[in-house]
Subunit: 349 residues, 2 copies
Amino acid sequence: MSPKTRKVTQKEIAQLAGVSQTTVSMVLNDRDGTNVRIPDATRERVKRAIEQSTYVADPAARRLAGLDNKIIGIFTYEPALSPESMDFYGPLLTGLERAAEEAQCDLLFFTSSPVEEGRRRLFHRQTRLRLADGCVLLGQSMDGGDLERLVDEGFPFVAVGRRDETAARVPYVGIDYASMTAGLVDQAYARGHRRGLYVHRDTDSPAARDRRAQIASSAATLGIQIPEAVARDDLAPLVARAQAGDATVFFAEDTFLAEDLAHALHRSGLSVPDDVSLAALGEVRGHVVAGRTLSGFHIPRTRVAAAALDLVQSLIHLPADEWSAIEVQQLLSGTVEPGDTLASPASER
Amino acid sequence: MSPKTRKVTQKEIAQLAGVSQTTVSMVLNDRDGTNVRIPDATRERVKRAIEQSTYVADPAARRLAGLDNKIIGIFTYEPALSPESMDFYGPLLTGLERAAEEAQCDLLFFTSSPVEEGRRRLFHRQTRLRLADGCVLLGQSMDGGDLERLVDEGFPFVAVGRRDETAARVPYVGIDYASMTAGLVDQAYARGHRRGLYVHRDTDSPAARDRRAQIASSAATLGIQIPEAVARDDLAPLVARAQAGDATVFFAEDTFLAEDLAHALHRSGLSVPDDVSLAALGEVRGHVVAGRTLSGFHIPRTRVAAAALDLVQSLIHLPADEWSAIEVQQLLSGTVEPGDTLASPASER
DNA sequence: CTGAAAGCGCTTACAG
DNA sequence: CTGAAAGCGCTTACAG
């Protein structure tokens, strides 16, 4: 039951150096204030004693005594290290590790949180959340209750991805989908497209709403038509609209949907981009349809994760009532990938 | 500086329920021994009070009071979450996460450890090692001093990969390369090969020694010739030995070397496996040479990592002087992938 | 059955 | 300049 590790304590160091335990603590933490001034001789004696021993401060005790731990909790609503999730989580984890190394902090993954209704629970009887100085939350969708409670308790945390599930002001670092979406629509316009179709899955997330709103706003600004259409299992009705000449370009809400559309178009004898152009409003790296690079976005996921870790550090070092002083809701912009599936419409050639 | 999180403590729960703080602790930990018997009525009252509050036990305090934390440290000598290392670490991390979830423990990644001479240091002034109940060590090569110190201090840990850098008895979970190597040589023999060549990089690791020793031993048992050759930058001398008919099959120490050999053979006009057979003594999943599945091993890395986590749990729950009672050095066997690059020698056809 | 007390290892006012 | 003491939140003998 008990890890019978004989560990050296400050008390023993104190005895070795012939000083009080308080002094050892002072030396270790470089406390040299107005009321404390430790002569170099003493300081040296203590340091030597520490070096000769295998002393390391007990982080649990430090934490209990009120110091921060340099431990950031990482909570993911799904398993993050499984092969299937690596596509999404991989770049995020890379950014977290890189930023953590720089900030000299350790990462505590809450892998123990019990899974209920398909996702992990953040708060449960034995949560080790409190052991961390702060926490980064990851996941496609999050629990509004969790977010609110974290805000209420003033616990420093940052969500990855834009959040508005809750009334509370949730600190987050997300992706600026609006500006990239605008960029992509502009490119389509520049190539001569005047009639498009925005195809989506009718899901409701902040990022999804951002994209839809920007499509509508860009279309209005440019004076062109880009109505919406919801993709069901059967994509044939959408393909029909392209065949009818209703749209010369498809904007797909995400990359998987874009690939599905590409297949459906191909099966109906329509070629991309000769007959219809196609672009995805998501990360297209590594995605190729019919030998062509898919047009879409490059999303700086690694940078987003690193920024989230940096932000949570700022929150930790700031009293909760001063959080409003910094930008706790950040959107990072990626770049538009022109790709090869967005070309001029046939009528322009 | 201080995360001013208002947190609920046992004391407050006690007041709410009108009992002592001790009783709250007893209820929380289900302590119902000889001297303690808490009536259901009291128990219920306390439980209700807890549910109405947002109480969660402070893990730092629990740890300090001597309980275990259900936190396992993960130490990697290189960055584990970078894209380049995912190939090697990915399956290991998957196994760790899976086993951690099952064992209900959290994973503390020591990402803060300073990098010196190209690899991270485990022991340093501020190491949070002690916060974990035990630790899993990962890395292509490890520091013998670290291993010895961990053993000395009786800290529960398990290395992934076979270790013999040190005299101390290091707990590990590794790969049984010997049995897989024997299997591969047997297959070559069965296909009619009598003269082989074992090509390696002359590196010195337990796993490398295992493979070399087994090659020699298998050859002796079967009464065939499989001499060794060290691969330099220029592989031409090795190719020449195939051309001279010195060897009908190449065994490469690892998969990358096998691919290099394949290219060198190809450039010299030798075809695999028509002119020479080729097999890698490493994981071949996803590796294809000239359109053919490389012959070699499938290594159960996910299982190895999960086993390591399970083993460290056992160590944690056992007093250090009883560690010898369990198998602290385990080798897991993978399977031989026959592949398409190991065929009968030309002389047999 | 239940509570007051000691102790885990550390930090930080507070007195000398 | 330095140490005795209180306190962080919890667990566990030990007395009632």
